[in-house]
């Protein structure tokens, strides 16, 4: 015995189309006859396409169009004074239909419809307004530099330590120098491209533009990821998947993510602490300092995140000095 497929909604629609069923009650009845669950009363079938109707040739009797069945009008409770009590609801009553004078010309077109009056314009009429930044605009350049910079012992000679070493009679293997902030090692930016970052697309673009102006194209590496960088990154231009490449020696890593704080409908909230453990370890092994820009307030940040991740609030209340303090700690 060949296995037979059951009837489906398509069969019902084809049947309704062939029979020109327009009434929901009739559609339900038809569905029952085909052994299908009855559709809701509001689900009326689409009207028959005009193209399938064929004209009647001249000289032949016109085809009779089937009239839909008369539906019983619901009875109105009670009645108003003067109502004919003998008239049952739904019964025919005598009445005279007369045509009244046409209102043609009574309602004239408004004056503003005359030629030359303004009409609805098409398309945009002015350049779009720029997007307000998350960081304070006056300090955004300094903020970009602070986020990209790393602290290296490459400044002036640290005379205090030098004198102390010489006084203690210790051998001088290297000249001690004071730490300074530098951008010369470049920056790797990892952009969370998960759906939770949708509201921040413009901010991400703005920040990347700022960093590119600060560092130059050669010193900036931008990669996308969804979930966590070790699960795979994406080339920003082509979208091709790739493994997370360790940043160049000395370069910092800037992570733009909400760390799963945003609750997406239908998705469980990730366990952020465990989620980021692997990446934090890999970054530490690569010697990269990871700083994370999070748009949500610190009160909402997940607890127990791995220590190598330095979290920064992406907001106007965050100052350059605060960033420097945090990163130099």
């Amino acid at each position: 015995m060949p296995r037979r497929a059951p009837l489906n909604a398509g069969d019902l629609l084809r049947a309704a189309q062939a029979l020109q069923v327009q009434d929901p009650a009739m559609l339900q009845r038809l569905a029952r006859q085909l052994g299908l669950p009855a559709p809701p009363a509001s689900a009326a079938p689409p009207p028959a396409p005009a193209a399938t109707e064929r004209a009647v040739p001249p000289g032949r009797p016109q085809p009779t169009q089937p009239t839909p069945p008369t539906r019983a009008t619901p009875a109105q409770p009670g009645g108003t004074p003067g109502t004919d009590d003998t008239a049952a609801p739904g019964s025919l009553v005598p009445a005279m239909l007369t045509a009244l004078p046409d209102l043609a010309g009574a309602a004239t077109a408004p004056a503003w419809l005359s030629p030359g009056m303004p009409q609805l314009a098409k398309g945009p009429v002015a350049p779009p307004t720029p997007h307000d930044t998350l960081f304070s605009p006056p300090s955004s350049r300094a903020m970009g530099a602070a986020l990209a910079a790393v602290r290296v012992a490459d400044g002036d000679v640290d005379t205090d330590r030098l004198v102390a070493a010489l006084a203690d009679g210790l051998p001088l293997r290297a000249v001690p120098r004071l730490p300074v902030w530098t951008l010369r090692h470049g920056l790797q930016v990892l952009v969370d491209q998960g759906p939770a970052m949708q509201p921040w697309h413009a901010d991400v673009d703005q920040l990347l533009g700022l960093l590119e102006r600060l560092l130059g194209e050669a010193q900036l590496q931008v990669l996308g990821f969804d979930g966590e960088p070790l699960q795979g990154c994406r080339h920003p231009g082509t979208g091709d998947p790739m493994r997370w490449p360790a940043p160049p020696p000395g370069a910092a890593v800037l992570l733009l993510s909400d760390l799963g704080i945003t609750r997406l409908p239908g998705r469980p909230r990730p366990q952020a602490a465990r989620h980021w453990q692997g990446f934090a370890r890999a970054a530490a092994q690569a010697g990269a300092a990871v700083r994370v820009l999070v748009p949500q307030a610190p009160s909402r940040w997940p607890v127990g995140l791995p220590v190598p991740l330095r979290l920064l609030w992406w907001d106007r209340r965050t100052t350059v000095a605060a960033v420097r303090r945090l990163l130099s700690a």
């Binding site: 193209a51 009797p61 025919l92 009445a95 043609a104």
Partner: protein
Amino acid sequence: MSTTQPTAKPPRSAADRAAERLDAWARQHPQAAALARLASLAVRVDASLLRRLRLQLLPRAEPGIEADLWFAGLHAAQGGGSLVFDAAVLQLLRTQLCQASAAPGQPRPLQAAWDITRGLHAAWPEALRIEEEITFLALQGGAGAPAAMGQALQPALAAMASGGDARALEVARWAQRAMPRLPDAARQHPAVLALWLGALVRLGATSGPLPATGPAGLPPDLRWLLPADTGTAPLRVACQPLADGLRLWPLADGAADAAQQITLPAALAPLLAVVSHDGPDHAQHRTVLLQGDTTVPLPPGWQQATLHNLAGQRWQLQRQAGGTTNALPPLAWQQVRVQVLGPKGPVGLGCFVSPTEVVTVVDVLPRTLVDAMRGPDDRRTWAGSGTALPFGQPLPEQENAANQPVRLMLQVHGGVQREQMAQLAALDLYSSLALLTLQRPFAGAAVAPLQLIRPAPGAPVWTVPGLGGQTGQWAGQVQPDARLDRLPEGRLPPDTLAQPFAMKLPQPHGALAGMAGAPMFEGHQLVGLADLSRADPDGSTVWAVPAAAIHRFLAWARRSEAEAPRVLLHHPVDDPYGKGAEMDERAAQRLARAAWRARLHLMPGADGAYTLRSAREQGADGVDDPALMPSLDAAIRLVTPVTRDGADEPGRTRLLALAARRWANPGFPLLNFGFRMRSERQPLPVPLRGSLLQPIETPGPEELARQLLDAADPVPDGGAGPDDGRAVLKEMLETAARPFLPRTSALDAVWQAAVAHDLPAAVDLVTRAWRSSSRLPAAVAADLLAQAALPLPDNSFVPTLRGAAPGAWAVNAMPLQLGRLLVARAHIGRPAPACVLVRDQVWAGEASAQAVEQHLHTTLAAALDCRPDEAALLADRLALPVWMLVATRPLPDASTLQALRSALPNARFLFLAGPQPDFDAAANAAGITPLPAIADRADLAWMHGYKRLMDWAQPRQRASAPAGPKRKTRAK
């Protein structure tokens, strides 16, 4: 179906649900809720607006509330960096915003939010800015608001009234989206109402919700805003006053006038205002959309009602003194029924289906007449004359016998009867129905409406009281149906709904003699015609041919030759010889007879059956081979031992033409008949492979005719359905995925992820839980799953693309595979149409059009395995309705699109152009319809998932065992 005006507010349940959802969310996110209220003035809420509203009006709030709002699930649509609030939520947010602004001692957030929204959206299209301005004015209220709203809408009204048809349509589409979203206070403004009604008239009255017209009802005259009457026939509407209502129904073309009727311009929407006056100071306004039989409720004591439409026409209905007329006067079945007379008196019955037509059953007609009309059985008698057969007429040799008159006895009135002659006009191929035509119209004929749904088992039906009865009715009951037979593939046979039903009568069996052709009624509607030719199942049970069969029969029998489907007979033979030639010709003649019986227009090759010049030569000579006519409805291939349509034989071009049609339109009907053949001798082009050869020798003439008619006259496509084909898609996916499911429930989670447009998540589940196979490719299931997860925000593209006329559409995505599956998804339930993929197209004038056309030729040549010049010829002559999917950036301009459409007039273009600024505006400017916007990067995420899915779907290579004997190790 009828519609009266909806209530002004959304359905309570929807509003309640929205309120509950909003309250619950606002309790958890109070700051985000405040931001949502401030943003509720905007038509589309974008990230920039949320940012500025937060920074300026909620300066202490943290940025995260923007994301909280973004993902709150309060939107109806999201994409392109913006979201649109759900309508019910929007109303609540606006109400709360007004309440917050009205609180004493508080700053006015409404005005502040409006200042920011207006400033940020100053660059937006004027239509959207007007919508936002009207929203603000309506919420702000005040004495000057109505005038300001009218002022704001003037440009839109002016564009609709005098901006030209194309511009008016654009404005109408915008108005239809925008007007229902406006606050309640704005929706009953006269200018809003006028714009809304104008949009409904232009786009079709069922294209959107009807406006709530408020206490003033429909405007009395909007003629200045409406499109010009296109000269189509006016719509006649019958009016039947009831004690508590007014019944209205449109009269069909050609139907007799009703006792009371009004005439409406057909070009305008059938919108009608009914104002009832049940007292001197009390009037009720109702807006009616006429779409069939409609009953407008009126107060029980109504005395007077007026009707008017948007064009200023008015009528008055004045109730007359006197009691009621009968609610349902008994049907004058004596005027419906006809007695068919034989040599010795009445032999059966029939009923009028028009003043000149009577339908009955063949049993009541003389046998010689029926045989002459059907023609001889051509399996035994060969009468191959080679002359054309007369369409819808008896064969010449049977003409005299078939034209003998049939005597009918008709009821005039008052019991007076009159005899009249009729002629047999048609015999049904599916039932025992016969159509008689009277020599002149019968004025006393009454026509009962057909009830197209078969009566339910147990339903009370009645019939006329036998041959001799003139009064009363015979009541009966419908018997339970036999189980419906299904075709092997599980579908219903084409004429299932016309299968006869049985009616049980209390009368003794002997009283039923002469009841053949008796009409059967349910109430006042004709449900069938008694058919005594079937075996009597039980005593006094009568079988009936249902009204659906009568309806189909009449439509078929009334068809003229010009309207008949055109069917090609493809049968090339170049070297007839001996007995084989005679049998070959006989098979072709059988098909010609079958087409005559089925009332089809059969077209053999233009140059006869035996030679075929090249199509190019024919075109040059002005000779049209029917195989190359674009307006071909179906084709028949006759394959005999002498058929020649191989690689180098004369029929090759015609065969390729059929294959090209099948490729471009997989639903193109093609019947293959074989004469002493069981399989094809030559391999066919790919699109034609797999079709079976049906024997031409064995089926009877009527059966052969039915096969042709079923193929050439298919049931029209019913559309994807109320859910835009989602149910069908799920069914197909269940079937295709069954071999790979560890258990049936494994599909559920995947389906949920797919319909949430999250293909990567669905693929994760598939690769983790589903079985892969070393033999079965799962590409079909993978394609269906990817269709279910298309990243478009809604399914509105399905009715747009399904059965679309030639035109151009665009989507802001780039992957061609996405476009291909989008087209397939739109045609769900049918074979997917052919898609020609054009990658990375750039536009450089007409050369671009030629390049795209070249793609079609190349793809067609590959599909048919023919030469490119043959493919070019076929594409040129057949005007193939293919889908051209063009990956491009940017979109073509209007002139380039014109060049493309000139080159491929029947093609449907889908441009996959990726995200671009002002995508919709650019598409509209070029005359391209933009599809719903895909969220930023969603297409890439989908494509990534699709690649993974297709990797999984490939059959796995089984790991081969190492060569050599197995080594056994002895346990120590």
